[in-house]
């Protein structure tokens, strides 16, 4: 059994859902956890070679990799370690369909092929913004457990999960979630639904 490093590529890593998913991973398998920042690329690049497995945990951003992660991957490409760990992906998106993460997963796989990193397991989470705070948390926790087990055992596989809701119900549930989010900031649902965009 090797050593596992989880890198959080979320732009809001300290407060991110990716961090919560990473914690679920670490609840069942041992590993180290670090967050990608603007200033620690060199340090991280120097560290990844010491691990057998690298897990990239991040959210889907504008149909692809968040630029926080993209910057890091470019830095890693420029400072390739002598030993290349197997790269696995733990991705979540706020949309119901976990398949909306597919393109971003393929981007990481392409990075691996272009740079000689073995590609490992994948966990795609749909409804990932909210699922951890719903009764369906157990589904996400179960999927992370299977994913973690596969990475730790080196038996790489692909997994996915999402809230098992009809789309019509998901729309209502997500509206309630976001309305409550705005309310905590003193913003009404009508204000959040404004069609106005500031002028340039």
């Amino acid at each position: 059994m090797g050593r596992i490093l989880i890198l959080n590529g979320s732009p809001r890593a300290p407060k991110s859902n990716s961090k919560r998913y990473a914690q679920l991973f670490l609840d069942c398998r041992r590993g180290d956890y670090l967050e990608i920042t603007r200033s620690n690329h060199q340090q991280l690049c120097a560290q990844v070679g010491a691990y057998s497995d690298l897990v990239l945990a991040f959210p889907l951003y504008a149909d692809g990799l968040p630029v926080t992660l993209l910057h890091f991957l470019k830095a890693l490409e420029a400072h390739l370690p002598a030993h290349k760990p197997t790269v696995s992906v733990l991705i979540n998106c706020g949309f119901l369909e976990y398949g909306q993460n597919d393109i971003a997963v393929e981007m990481v796989a392409l990075f691996c092929r272009q740079n000689g990193f073995p590609f490992g397991s994948v966990l795609k989470i749909g409804s990932g913004e909210a699922i951890l705070d719903t009764p369906f948390r157990f589904l996400a926790a179960g999927a992370v457990k299977k994913f973690a087990k596969s990475v730790a055992a080196g038996r790489y596989a692909s997994f996915h999960t999402a809230m098992p809701l009809p789309k019509s119900l998901f729309l209502k549930a997500s509206a309630a979630y976001w309305t409550e989010y705005g309310k905590k900031n003193g913003i009404s649902e009508a204000e959040m639904r404004t069609m106005q965009i500031e002028s340039s």
Binding site: L73, M107, Y181, E198
Partner: protein, 171 residues
Amino acid sequence: MNLILSDRPLALTVQSTSQVRVIDLSALSIHNCVGCFGCWTRTPGRCVIRDDAVTVYPLIAQSQRVLYVSRITYGGYDTVMKTMLERAIPVQQAFIRLVDGETHHLQRNVAPKQAVILGYGAQSPEEEDLFRRMVARNARNMNFTRFQVRFSPEEALEAAVEEEVSKWAVS
């Protein structure tokens, strides 16, 4: 309005006017989105980071035609274009709708648009294919009614842009 958004300087004969805006993102100061959701839940329609991005996303929203020029990295936009597109989420709402049966964010006042995405620097046909499929995903989230993905060597970008702009003049 038509918009040319490039991640590098372009020596074009077309000038930036009120009808055609030409923006070199590499000359602007645009910070990463911090994922705060402020543009959805604190100041809806307005990014809380007050840098040059706030002059660009309103233009994206208003444009009926857009031409994006971007280096391709790992099958997606390279960091300059991707940073801007991530900062453009104030044009959307937090709330979700169905688009072709899939869940996507509601748009605010975003003009339906015809898009040409001009990519350069792909290392393989495989990378070009992934880029095409990514843009197809963008279409659903960025209100593209029609889109075309085109690839060009970096040294031929200006000619490719001029060719696309000439199509705007006759359509």
